[in-house]
Amino acid sequence: MRPSQTLVVGIGSSHGDDRVGWEIADAVLERVDGRAEVRRARKPADLLDWLEGIASLEVCDAVAGEIGPGCVRSWVWPAAEIAGVPFAGSHDLSLVATLALAEQLGRLPAHVRIWGVGVHRVQAWSPMSPAVAAAVDRAVEQICAALDVARAPQP
């Protein structure tokens, strides 16, 4: 059976602006009305356990440094420029390494889009900065629009 599910994953932690992936996942869950599976991840490698039966993956993570705080960008895998994007976090496999490994293992969905939100303040237990908090709704709108496009009947 061909995979058909759509999976939306927000990667994050409890620490300041690094929450943004989780906040986006929570907000998307309220909007998708069962059209997609939505998960929170603590680290990119969590993805490797969730890809079976998934045809389309939308994954959202914080980006430190490369884009301004609160800016939302997306890349469709494989995008050459993604290799240089400093997604937040220095532990375990990076998001790009995780996706590359999933691809090598033949487990990567046919469609993968990566959403990055620029972050600024990643301190333990601190709230999100206003600029990043304000980006959540914009990112959710864009992800939901992308999901709608993906599900629209093809001519």
């Binding site: 603590r42 680290k43 490698a45 220095s90 375990d92 590359a100 033949g106």
Partner: protein, 431 residues
């Protein structure tokens, strides 16, 4: 007339934890200098701890390393508990060993499958290897995940756990949380045995060193958290005597201190090979059988550390299963204590080797002094010495081949550079 020096530099060592370099200088076909250059900036954790409440220490020291945070937490709480005169209950001690099993499984499985095996199979990376060996890589990821699961349940989260407390834990897990892990760990034990037999069949360079192995040793168990610090030549000391027998010294080319034995002035080796060779009798049954079958009692070949690492994964699964199946009593989470002036030292076995901590605390429960000696600092001098003896065999090769051979040897020790900074690029100078 001597030749122009030949310099070989590995600017950034690949597939090691953290960032460091290696500089080699060759003159007249002989190795003149080997410098393991740890250039990550000093992190000054010992100074950062001074004046802090002692309860903060396990969480702060866990930040030293994203790969072996449990080791830092365990060495710190054991040292502080000795300073305070606290003895944890047997049940809490057992849960701490279970947590440590999680870290060994996670760290060793990652190193074996994604960092070290590619050297033996001829790949540049675990990622490149994954296309041809998908089952093996996925097995490694699954084993690594089991370790993370233990850290999640016992440590509160898999990265930088937050549940280890002076006196015990902030929260002990429910028996049902632990029992739920048994099926995965039963699969993992068999998989770990297969991994160890698989890696033992690799082609290993012929290279033996007269190592002075150093590791914790305990009469009743494979030492992780407690025991005497023991050496190949028969020294057996309490951690409180560490500074009388081991000395850290600065070298100009590295931000990591290097350790030597005071008695001999010589380098020594810590880590899985040292542990298995000093403590083989204490391994659990499957691990012991594998050690006897696959690793000679006299083996001092650093490249075979991958076999020792596999044996330790098996041991960790056996011990974890033994604890998980035994329905550990999860009652009192922490032992009470009163503040008092005191001094406490402890060593525990991080995946990479012996990790020593010493603290002096004041009557208000604040840290007055701290001393931390990580395993990679202890191994750094030994790694340089081993390179001096290994590289002459490949000295006529191209610079790239020499650099590659040097990196392979360095990876055998699974150095954690970020921990050691107070550490890899390879540069070879030929003269």
């Amino acid at each position: 007339m001597s030749e122009t020096p030949r310099t070989i530099r590995v600017e950034a060592l690949a597939r090691v934890e953290g960032e460091g370099a290696l500089n080699l200088r060759v003159r007249d076909g002989k190795i003149e200098a080997v410098e393991l250059n740890i250039y990550e900036p000093p992190r000054l954790f010992e100074a950062l701890l001074r004046g802090r409440a002692l309860e903060e220490v396990p969480d702060i020291t866990a930040r030293i390393c994203g790969i072996c945070p449990v080791a830092y937490q365990m060495s710190s709480v054991h040292a502080l508990e000795r300073a305070l005169g606290v003895t944890v209950s047997p049940e809490l001690r057992q849960l701490r060993r279970l947590l440590y099993c999680g870290e060994w499984i996670e760290s060793h499985a990652l190193h074996v499958h994604l960092l070290h095996v590619p050297d033996f199979l001829g790949y540049d990376s675990g990622l490149a290897m994954a296309a041809d060996f998908p089952d093996e890589v996925q097995r490694g990821l699954r084993l690594k995940k089991h370790g993370s699961q233990l850290l999640d349940v016992l440590g509160g989260r898999a990265v930088h756990p937050i549940n280890v407390a002076v006196g015990g834990f902030y929260r002990v897990p429910r028996a049902s949380e632990l029992a739920a892990l048994v099926p995965d760990f039963e699969w993992g034990l068999q998989a770990a045995i297969n991994v160890t037999r698989w890696v033992s069949d690799f082609d290993f360079p012929t290279f033996e060193r007269p190592y002075d192995f150093v590791a914790l040793s305990h009469p009743d168990e494979y030492a992780m958290c407690e025991g005497n610090i023991c050496t190949s030549d028969g020294l057996a000391i309490d951690a409180a005597q560490f500074a009388e027998h081991f000395r850290e010294q600065q070298v100009p080319h590295s931000t990591a201190l290097q350790a030597v034995r005071i008695e001999t002035g010589a380098t020594y080796l810590v880590g899985p090979l040292a542990r298995v060779q000093l403590n083989r009798r204490q391994l659990m049954s499957e691990a012991r059988q594998l050690a006897d079958d696959l690793l000679e009692r006299s083996c001092a070949n650093p490249f075979k550390s991958i076999v020792a690492r596999g044996i330790e994964i098996v041991h960790a699964y056996e011990e974890a299963l033994s604890i998980l199946r035994g329905s550990p009593a999860c009652g009192q989470s922490r032992m009470p204590y009163d503040y008092r002036e005191g001094d406490g030292a402890a060593a525990t076995e991080a995946p990479r080797g012996l990790l020593y901590h010493r603290y002096r605390v004041d009557a208000e429960g604040r840290v007055a002094a701290a001393d931390i000696v990580p395993p990679t600092s202890q191994n750094q001098g030994q790694i340089e010495d081993d390179l001096r003896h290994f590289l002459p065999a490949v000295i006529d090769a191209s610079d790239d081949e020499i650099a590659d051979a040097a990196e392979r040897l360095v990876r055998s020790y699974d150095p954690c550079i970020s921990c050691a900074t107070h550490f890899l690029r390879v540069k070879v100078e030929r003269q």
